[in-house]
């Protein structure tokens, strides 16, 4: 039933706001013209695409017109910066680019860690918060951009860096950067793999470099219906993934490899994928059917097998388990950059024994791994390790999780505690099982609540609401293990599957800290992200119009309320970090990075 005074708004659709109009800087906003499109379709790879292979609902011309934009860069402009989370790939139309792998200081690249509101604005918000729920300023929406200032966020700010490069002559030297020629595609790894950019790319000129920026939703659709592009991107993905994976591993970063060793490593390493890229769908189905997840997870390396190489996790997660009676129990998990099988390989290379793999490794959802064959390990990595740590005292953080180490940690804690209650180990196998089984291992800012301390005062909920126009962005409710609750708050996943399928790119990584945030302006309320989130941490809400006495916004054609996706944004707009953590009087709440098992154990066993 529509209220009489309900303001009428067009229902948002995927291409309401073309990518070419999605700029913070008004001067850069420009719709793709026919001439632009003709120019693009005359160039590879578009000239080789068969438009008839695209469905009527997703025509090739519409994808290019709406999911791409042309960008111009002067020589030295940074196009992508190492460490940023990217949502788009780039095709070089005219000119060259340079990839700078190392040497640039983040500060030199103008990386701003702080995109927060001013303190005054945050404080003012406390007194001007709306009384009704989910009130929006409809003038900001693209359907009304001709009437008011349109200020979409989430676009890439490109820093002008010629001066920086002059200051860092080394990073600009031929030895340390690679030329990316005209016609090349780059940035697809970060865009499709939801990982950080591994290199900084700058325009190499001379003159103006013209690039086509393709948001990942468009790239995904182009790859889906054009085999040539798919094969090309997959090949690039494989090559760049391999290089990137090594750079992400703390072990490989710590050892000193010469050029020859690097070449051998890159030539002989194998790249494998286990599980499904869109694992969340399968996971949800299995949970509904109440099936044992562990037995459904693909085995990467099995306990008792010959160690056929050093495994490095490139993307996704892996569960470590050990046989126990008729089943298996989980005692840990691995994330990006972690290694598996290192201890066994080191043992075998330094003794005459042939120790088999001690733990089974399974893909928890999906796992991309890089396998360094045993022979390559013996010839390249092990000698480099011995060179770096000649006394054989390898830092524990590089050795990976082992059953023995976990047991030692447990017994140490037990010995240091008094009282029966605290003698229990809260980060032991049952907790690991709980975290892996429910895929909470994906979280980088998981909301953990210690129910033995929480007085249920809801100060956390109120603090959250006060920073979000009176709308709490989480529910103090969720699955419980022992006395620890994982609340229904966005975990800002290492692998944010909610981003898969977002047709407009409204849900994206923030550029500073990589938090997963939703651009309310470009969100069309399709619910794809909410349906994809395996943890039910995204909510669709009916929005109200501030300029119309907070009445519900309604689509005039269908008569349905306009909805938007909402979730915890980790108070990325405000100073002081997550308000929920600061508001807890009893230190019962934390936002934990599940990749940091040491910190997690410390908190659980306080």
């Amino acid at each position: 039933m529509v209220e009489v005074n309900t303001p009428v708004r067009d229902k948002p659709k995927r291409w309401d706001l073309p990518f070419s109009m999605d700029f913070t800087n008004e001067a850069e906003r420009r719709e793709m013209s026919f001439s632009d499109l003709n120019d693009l379709f005359a160039k590879k790879p578009f000239s080789e695409m068969d438009a008839s292979r695209f469905p009527d609902s997703l025509p090739l011309a519409s994808i290019v017109a709406n999911d791409t934009r042309i960008r111009l860069y002067r020589e030295g402009d940074a196009i992508v910066r190492q460490g940023d989370y990217g949502n788009s790939a780039f095709l070089i139309l005219d000119g060259d680019c340079r990839a700078i792998i190392e040497g640039l200081d983040p500060a030199q690249l103008g990386r701003q860690a702080d995109h927060s509101k001013s303190l005054l604005k945050s404080v003012k918000g406390l007194f001007t918060n709306a009384l009704a729920p989910e009130v929006r300023d409809s003038r900001l929406y693209p359907q009304h951009r001709d009437k008011a200032v349109f200020d979409p966020s989430g676009t890439v700010f490109v820093q002008d860096v010629p001066n920086i490069l002059e200051l860092s002559p080394e990073s600009y030297s031929e030895a340390r950067h690679n030329i990316i020629p005209e016609g090349s595609l780059f940035g697809e790894l970060a865009a499709l793999g939801r990982v950080q950019r591994s290199v900084t790319v700058v325009a190499a000129g001379p003159g103006t470099t013209r690039l086509l920026e393709i948001r990942w939703q468009g790239l995904r659709d182009l790859m889906k219906y054009d085999n040539g592009l798919r094969d090309h991107v997959n090949e690039l993905f494989r090559q760049n993934g391999l290089k990137g994976a090594f750079q992400m591993s703390p072990l490989i970063q710590a050892i000193d490899l010469d050029e020859e060793q690097w070449d051998q490593l890159l030539a002989e390493a194998e790249f494998e994928t286990f599980g499904s890229y869109d694992w969340h769908g399968t996971y949800q189905q299995l949970r509904k059917r109440d099936e044992d997840l562990l037995t459904q997870e693909p085995v990467v390396q099995e306990e008792g097998q010959y160690p056929n190489g050093l495994l490095i996790i490139r993307a996704g997660f892996a569960r470590m388990s050990r046989r126990h009676g008729a089943g298996e129990y989980t005692f840990g998990y691995l994330g990006i950059g972690d290694v598996h099988g290192l201890q066994e390989l080191m043992h075998n290379v330094s003794t005459d024994d042939n120790s088999p793999i001690q733990t089974t490794l399974r893909a928890a959802g999906y796992t991309d791994i890089v396998r360094v064959p045993t022979r390559t390990f013996e010839q390249v990595i092990y000698p480099a390790m011995m060179k770096t740590w000649p006394d054989g005292n390898f830092p524990e953080k590089f050795l990976g999780e082992t059953m023995e180490r976990r047991k030692t940690a447990m017994s140490t804690r037990r010995a240091s505690w008094r009282g029966d209650r605290r003698k229990r180990e809260f980060s032991g196998a049952p907790m690991m099982e709980f975290l892996a089984e429910n895929r909470y291992i994906n979280g980088t800012a998981t909301m953990l609540i210690d129910l033995d301390r929480c007085t249920r005062c809801d100060d956390c909920v109120r603090a959250c609401a006060s920073g979000h126009n009176n709308n709490p962005r989480f529910i103090r409710h969720g699955k419980i293990h022992d006395h620890h609750m994982i609340a229904n708050a966005c975990m800002h996943c290492a692998d944010p599957v909610c981003m898969i399928g977002c047709p407009t790119g409204a849900i994206h990584r923030s550029e500073g800290g990589g938090e997963v945030v939703i651009n309310d302006v470009t969100c069309i309320g399709c619910g794809t992200c909410a349906n994809s989130c395996p943890y039910e941490n995204i909510r669709l809400v009916n929005v109200r119009d501030q300029s119309q006495d907070d009445a519900l916004m309604v689509d005039p054609v269908k008569g349905k309320a306009i909805v938007k996706a909402t979730k915890c944004d980790l108070c990325v707009d405000h100073h002081g970090g997550p308000a929920c953590v600061r508001a807890c009087p009893h230190d019962a709440l934390t936002r934990a990075d599940m990749d940091d098992l040491l910190d997690l154990s410390e908190w659980l066993n306080r």
């Binding site: 303190l119 945050s122 301390r453 249920r456 006060s466 009893h586």
Partner: protein, 265 residues
Amino acid sequence: MSIAALVLVLLMLTPYVIGYRIAFSDVVVTSGWLLFAVVVFLSSYNLRKKLTYPPLLKSSTWLQMHIYLGIAAMVIFLFHTSGKVPTGHLDIALYALFTLMVASGLFGFYLTRTIPTTLSSRGNEVIFERIPLFRRQIKDRVEQIILQSIEQSASSILAEFYESYLMYFLSGPRNVLLHLVRSERTSYRLRHELRESDRYLDEQDKVLAAELDDLIKLKDDLDFHYARQGLLKLWLFFHIPMTLVLLIFLVAHIVLIYAFTYGGS
């Protein structure tokens, strides 16, 4: 913790130091103003809770300070009053209010340290505001079971049990005081009564009775959470308004002291 302990010791010593330096000139006035300042600071914790921004230290840090300064306030109060009950009506009221505040604070400290553990060790975790909804759902399910029992069997045993015991038990929060002392006597009796009637039930009703037993347990757990979470909320409902009353009395006390003691002289 060690910093907090140091602050506490310094605060406790402050009146003596001040008292020594001013050589008995006006120890009561100095300790009075110090006490007033401490009480104002203690009261500001609630304001800090309301003001999420600017980020002025974590709430847990404020609570630590609140606890230690609260203890310090007790010491200063004893010093200020010389451990004697005053004689004037307003002063007696103020004395009683302060004592009540201290007692309320200590009681709150005890509650916040003991109740959470009991909540996490019994029943499902439940949001306080949603308890009436769950209670209603349990009641509806129980009524469905009773109707099913009446339809499927000739026996009215479960219906009578509902009328005699369950109707009242399910219609609102029950045994609040017993739950506060963690007694399960009433629910135990209720479930025992139900099990006793098991021998008179046919096979179909036995299945329904088993489900009833589970629902009674569920409702009892809800009551447990209602009583204990409710006590925590009720305590704050008492402690915070009391603070405001205390501040008003303190201001009145200061005004009167200056008006009639110093003003008079």
